[in-house]
């Protein structure tokens, strides 16, 4: 598997494009940075271009922009109520960024920004810190009621509280790992099957026929991965909304 063409891990490698070093930290512009910037550019292009005409009857680009907006707005409103709409910029940015990065990752030779745990962890921590800080800012110590659900018999309150605390602490972890692992695993699987095709076709006529099966798999998996790309962006968003709901209404 030394061959770059069939190595499933190679795609996650980070290469420096421009060396930058600030205060001893290596903050070089890498392929990952490049695709983050491209993600931003794509979002800005679609949304700004789409909403620039401000037509009452929307065109295609405007429909895309409006659908994204309303999709996220409805998700947020349903999960966190009208008060949650103040987080619309954050939730919308998260959704658009994760979705676009995931979809970009489906393009061959493109780097998948969200396949690196440091990126997903940073986004997850952003969510959790927002929830925690806003929760305490809005509700004060009342926010701690989040850990003590009402209507629980006094005898098991300590146990429930412990479980709630563990659950709260594991949120950023699950949020980060879910997205990261989905993107990573999907791309590895795709690459492994694609590698089979390459390896088998190099074995002559028999191999050529044998390569058909993994080829079909690759096609099917590609469709699945597009679904996963959208689904994970949605899951990340709706969980963010639910956590924000906790910050807004901690009383369960």
């Amino acid at each position: 598997m030394a061959d770059v063409r069939t190595d499933p891990i190679h795609q996650f490698g980070i290469q420096k494009l421009v060396d930058i070093n600030i205060d001893g930290y290596d903050v070089s512009f890498t392929n990952s940075s490049l695709f983050m910037v491209l993600t931003l550019a794509a979002i800005a292009l679609v949304l700004l271009w789409g909403s620039s005409s401000r037509a009452v009857v929307p065109g295609r680009a405007q429909t895309v922009a409006e659908l994204s907006y309303e999709f996220v707005a409805n998700t947020l409103r349903t999960a966190a109520g009208e008060g949650g709409m103040r987080f619309m910029p954050l939730v919308f940015s998260l959704f658009m960024f994760v979705l676009t990065a995931n979809i970009f990752g489906m393009v061959p030779y493109f780097f998948t920004v969200t396949s690196h745990i440091i990126v997903t962890a940073a986004l997850a921590l952003l969510v959790i810190f927002t929830v925690t800080i806003y929760g305490f800012y809005k509700n004060g110590t009342h926010f701690l009621k989040l850990f003590v659900p009402s209507g629980v018999p006094a005898a098991i309150v300590p146990l429930v509280t412990l479980i709630e605390i563990i659950s709260f602490l594991s949120r950023p972890l699950s949020l980060a790992v879910r997205l990261f692992a989905n993107m990573l695993a999907g791309h590895i699987t795709l690459k492994v099957f694609a590698g089979f095709v390459v390896t088998l076709t190099s074995l002559g006529a028999f191999g050529f026929l044998g390569a058909l099966l993994p080829l079909v798999m690759v096609v099917a998996l590609t469709a699945l991965e597009f679904l996963v790309a959208f689904l994970q962006a949605y899951v990340f968003t709706i969980l963010t909304c639910m956590y924000l709901n906790d910050a807004l209404h901690p009383g369960h």
Partner: protein, 204 residues
């Protein structure tokens, strides 16, 4: 899916170091330090040496994205949706108004139709009653006239009858006088009349 720039993986294929095009020589060691994931090196997503760079650029990109969304895109799209909602609401109000106007027109049309019908009925009724009155009046007049004529005639008949009867009793008296004179002898006219009266009273 990015096997992308990494054809120039310097550790794996040092024969083609220039393919990368990006600083292939100056920092071959550092460039490749965290891409040796293929063999023995760390798995790229878990390579901490790339974390500062990723976090740094993620922060820049995400803050830029957030500001763009918060300051530009969301107000813009929100404005579009609001304008559309306002337009739809306005159009609905207008349609409602038009409908109300139509309803009012229909009501007034029906009212005038009913009024016209009533008026027509009234005229017909009036005419009918007038005609009936006239007919009644004429009939009454005719009846009165006829009754008058009848009464006159009856009176006339009665007169004639009375005169005739008077003549009858005169004739009877004279006849009685003559008969009695022939049979018995002369009687007074008064006695004969009394006898005739007594007979005719008894007859009646």
């Amino acid at each position: 899916m990015s096997w992308f720039i990494s054809q120039a993986n310097a550790q794996e294929s040092p024969v083609v170091p220039a393919e990368d095009g990006h600083a292939p020589t100056e920092a071959a060691g550092t460039t490749v330090a965290h891409e040796g994931g293929e063999h023995g090196g760390t798995f790229p997503p878990f390579d901490p040496s790339t974390f500062p760079s990723q976090l740094f650029w993620l922060a820049i990109v995400f803050i830029a994205l957030y500001l763009l969304m918060a300051k530009k895109v969301i107000p813009q799209i929100g404005g579009i949706l609001e304008a559309r909602a306002a337009k739809i609401a306005g159009d609905l109000v207008e349609a409602e108004k038009a409908k109300a106007e139509t309803d009012a027109a229909i009501v007034s049309y029906e009212a005038s139709l009913a009024a016209a019908r009533n008026k027509a009925n009234a005229i017909a009724h009036e005419t009918r009653s007038k005609v009936a009155h006239e007919i009644d009046a004429r009939r009454h007049a005719a009846e009165a006239q006829l009754a008058g004529k009848l009464a006159d005639t009856e009176k006339h008949i009665a007169d004639v009858k009375r005169i005739a009867l008077e003549h009858v009793s005169t004739i009877a008296t004279e006849t009685t006088e003559a008969v009695v004179e022939a049979l018995v002898g002369k009687v007074g006219r008064d006695e004969a009349a009394a006898a005739v009266a007594a007979v005719s009273v008894g007859k009646h």
